[in-house]
């Protein structure tokens, strides 16, 4: 029986050539499919070709991650094969490279990310910064369109909560730091530890540890600190000079800026008319609220909650009570700080127009031209010199469909450059260690502060207060007591009042 074709013997070199070509092609096809390679390669029974496993791995990575750099790795494979058969490799290599380029450039699917904060894009500072980074993001990721939404702060968190319940929360959102743990506990946020870990360019270790505290809940990271600031003393140099008060920074440098000299300064500044009505008041409201009271309590060695359990209210212990007494007495007994009614106006405006000698406000303060306002560190209390540092948070919605794209928006805004730009454009303090020293230089000229190094010192000494999911309950429970202390109508100096209520609130929940 005649064969339909002539049987031809195949030489060893030819066999090797075909095998290499076939093996490489099989590997390539397997790689494209992302399935196991060994079966195909084993069939060729050529040891050298089996070593081409890296081709498949590399190409698989290209399919998944679309990184142009991987092409170089294909060339690396070429070198391996070259060792085996030079003539054949050229042809195979060309095929592989061509295919890789064709397959590995899929167009990303167009998508819309919703991003929300509580300021409009038209707002000076915050709005300018946000618009800038939306533009930068959209240029870098042209397949993504950012839909920006904003609501006033007063209704912002309620709005986000209801949207989260309806599954329509913005993909990326700003959130007040002190309310964030509760939102996380309720299940509104997406854990970002893994996104942070796999992003080689985002160095989480660069963030000031204090600033991260409000974003960590139950040992996981849920947000990145955003637009933080720290309480500092802002003082009107002209008023102090007229009142015969030594410059606060000079006192601080000499180690004489403490509770006693603070009170003396306020007494000198405060002036009253014949009817006893204050014409000029030493300072604004001394922080008779859950945020402000922390500074005084820390300076006196007290705290709001026990450490580290945070399950017990301890402001009613001696150090805490003394701190509250001290702050309340500035209003009630010494009458050198504004009562809640006196503080009705804008503290910053009252500082500029000289009604207040000093105020407690954010460390970076945009000085109005022509007004001699400077910044100083809060005074030393019996337990030392410290102040409150409060960052807000950027988080991702629990039900987002685009966690990676959402993360990219956060990572861009809070990159080293983004962080520095926040200081420069918004006038907030940096949260990155690498930017702390640069910050003073950035704000110089932009914000008219005479002592930029003081700002850095304030941040260095700043502490983030502990936040539990019961933050608002605690605030609502103690604020009336603090105000009542200062109001003078019915002085109540003991903080035992709110203890049962707060104790109940901090008790473990059912289930």
């Amino acid at each position: 029986m005649k064969m339909p074709f002539k049987k031809k013997s195949i030489g060893r070199r030819a066999l090797l050539r075909y095998s290499v070509a076939g093996g490489a092609a099989a590997s390539f096809m397997a790689a494209l499919g992302g399935c196991g390679e060994t079966q195909v390669v084993t069939e060729t029974k050529i040891q050298e070709v089996v070593k081409e496993v890296p081709v498949e791995r590399v190409v698989t990575q290209i399919v998944e991650r679309d990184r142009p750099v991987e092409v170089e790795k294909v060339v690396e494979v070429e070198r391996v094969v070259t060792k085996t058969v030079k003539e054949v490799v050229v042809e195979v290599q060309e095929k592989v490279v061509t295919k890789v380029v064709e397959v590995e450039k899929p167009k990303p699917q167009a998508l819309t990310l919703v991003f929300s904060t509580w300021w409009p894009l038209e707002m000076v500072g915050h709005g300018v910064y946000t618009q800038k980074y939306i533009d930068v993001y959209q240029a870098k990721y042209p397949h993504v369109t950012i839909e920006y939404r904003n609501w006033p702060f007063g209704e912002y968190h309620t709005k986000l909560l209801t949207q989260a319940a309806a599954g329509t929360a913005p993909d990326v959102f700003a959130y007040s730091g002190i309310f964030f743990p509760k939102f996380v506990k309720a299940g509104g946020a997406y854990p970002i530890d893994e996104l942070v870990r796999t992003d080689a360019e985002f160095e989480i270790e660069d963030f000031v540890e204090q600033s991260l505290r409000l974003s960590v809940v139950d040992g996981r990271l849920w947000g990145i600190p955003h637009i933080g600031n720290a309480w500092a003393v802002l003082y009107n140099q002209q008023v102090l000079e007229e009142a015969g008060v030594e410059d606060i920074n000079e006192m601080d440098a000499a180690g004489r800026w403490n509770w006693e000299t603070h009170l003396e300064a306020l007494q000198k500044i405060t002036t009253r008319d014949d009817a006893g009505k204050a014409e000029r008041i030493g300072m604004n409201d001394p922080g008779l609220n859950v945020l402000g009271i922390h500074s005084w309590a820390w300076q006196n060695g007290g705290n709001l909650l026990n450490q580290p359990g945070l399950g017990e209210f301890v402001l009613n212990e001696p150090a805490g009570v003394a701190a509250v007494e001290w702050a309340a007495d500035l209003v009630r007994n010494h009458q050198v700080a504004a009562s809640p009614a006196d503080a009705f106006g804008n503290s910053y405006a009252e500082l500029n127009n000289g009604r207040f000698g000093l105020i407690y406000g954010w460390a970076i303060y945009s000085r109005v031209k022509g007004f001699p306002v400077d910044v100083a560190h809060p005074p030393s209390g019996p337990a030392g010199q410290t102040t409150v540092f409060h960052p807000n948070t950027l988080g991702i919605a629990a039900k987002t469909k685009f966690p990676e794209d959402s993360w990219n928006l956060i990572a861009l805004q809070l990159s080293k450059q983004g962080d520095l730009d926040q200081t420069k454009i918004m006038g907030v303090i940096s949260r990155r260690k690498s930017n702390l020293l640069k910050m003073a230089e950035v704000v110089k000229g932009q914000f008219g502060i005479g002592h930029p190094e003081v700002v850095a010192q304030v941040i260095e000494n700043g502490r983030t207060f502990d936040v539990t999911e019961f933050q608002q309950e605690i605030g609502n429970a103690i604020t009336p007591v603090l105000l009542q202390n200062a109001g003078g109508a019915r002085p109540q100096t003991q903080l035992d009042g709110p203890k049962p209520g707060v104790g109940h609130l901090l008790a473990p929940r059912r289930g």
């Binding site: 909560l161 319940a165 299940g187 809640p340 009614a341 604020t479 009336p480 105000l483 109001g487 109508a489």
Partner: protein, 295 residues
């Protein structure tokens, strides 16, 4: 299909939107909130049944429940009678046929249709201790300035005074009632020798008593639900003096994320309002006169 059947179907179709609305937007939320009042729910997570725990907590562990209920009761039981009396006193001259009276009626009515937020902001300014209108007026009559909403002893009275500003709604209802009193009754009383005051007491008041009753019931229900002004002007302060019931409920729901407990508070308020409305209805038998006796 008979004509009667067709008419019945048409009738049901015509009332269907209303019935659907009632079921979807009133009956279902009420039933849901009742179920939630026996649960623990943070709005985003799972709902846990806790039996009567929330009701026990309301009476035994929630100090602010007592405080807020006390504040609300003060505001209601002092404010509503004053509010109603002021509305009636205002309606009396405005029911006369003086020239330009419509402008006065409009002027008094406008505040009641002003948005609550705008009113609240305006009253913050009026009550400002330093440059507010309230202290300026007191200064004219040599009364020392007050702390108003910033003073824990003055805050609740300040809210009651403020509520007088929005008396226009009740005033309009009184006005309608007064204009419905037959002139011949006044004429007869006058012939019998009754003066203006007696006519008011023995003719006007009895004849508008259903209107007065209506205003009192609606006033009490609305007053127990005061929220916006307190939320904007004082947020419960100073020293919890304006922590009204609904503000406390709101905090529990939207700040503390205790939607189950907030539902319990809502049903508590429902029962309280129902109780006092029931008392009003019982008392009404003694002083409310209807033109036609209804069995």
């Amino acid at each position: 299909m008979s004509l009667r059947q067709r008419e019945e179907i048409a009738a049901y179709l015509l009332v269907a939107p209303w019935i659907l609305g009632l079921l979807l937007f009133t009956a279902f939320p009420m039933a849901a909130s009742l179920a939630l009042s026996f649960s623990e729910w943070n709005f985003l997570g799972d709902i846990k049944f806790v039996g009567l725990d929330n009701y026990r907590a309301m009476f035994s562990r929630d100090r602010d429940f007592v405080v807020s209920l006390g504040n609300t009761a003060y505001y209601t039981f002092i404010g509503v009678p004053l509010h109603t009396a002021f509305a009636l006193l205002l309606a009396l001259p405005l029911s006369s046929k003086l020239k330009g009276i419509r402008y006065f009626r409009t002027a008094w009515y406008v505040p009641s249709v002003t948005p609550a937020v705008a009113s609240a902001i305006l009253w913050i300014l009026i009550y400002h201790p330093d440059f507010g209108l309230a202290n300026t007026l007191l200064g004219i009559v040599k009364i020392p300035p007050q702390g108003w909403i910033f003073d824990s002893t003055m805050a609740k009275p300040a809210f009651i005074i403020m509520s007088m500003w929005s008396v226009g709604g009740q005033m309009i209802i009184f006005l309608a009632g007064l204009q419905g009193v037959p002139q011949e009754l006044y004429d007869a009383a006058s012939i019998d020798g009754a003066g203006r005051l007696r006519q008011f007491r023995h003719v006007t008041l009895p004849l508008i008593s259903p209107i007065t009753f209506f205003n009192l019931v609606i006033g009490l229900i609305g007053s127990f639900q005061i929220f916006t002004a307190a939320y904007i002007m004082t947020n419960g302060g100073p020293a919890n003096q304006t922590l009204f019931y609904v503000l406390h409920l709101y905090r529990n729901a939207f700040e503390y994320l205790k939607f189950g407990y907030a539902s319990t508070l809502a049903w508590g308020l429902f029962v309280i309002i129902l109780f006092f409305t029931g008392i009003q209805f019982l008392g009404a038998k003694r002083w409310v006169y209807y033109e036609v006796k209804v069995d």
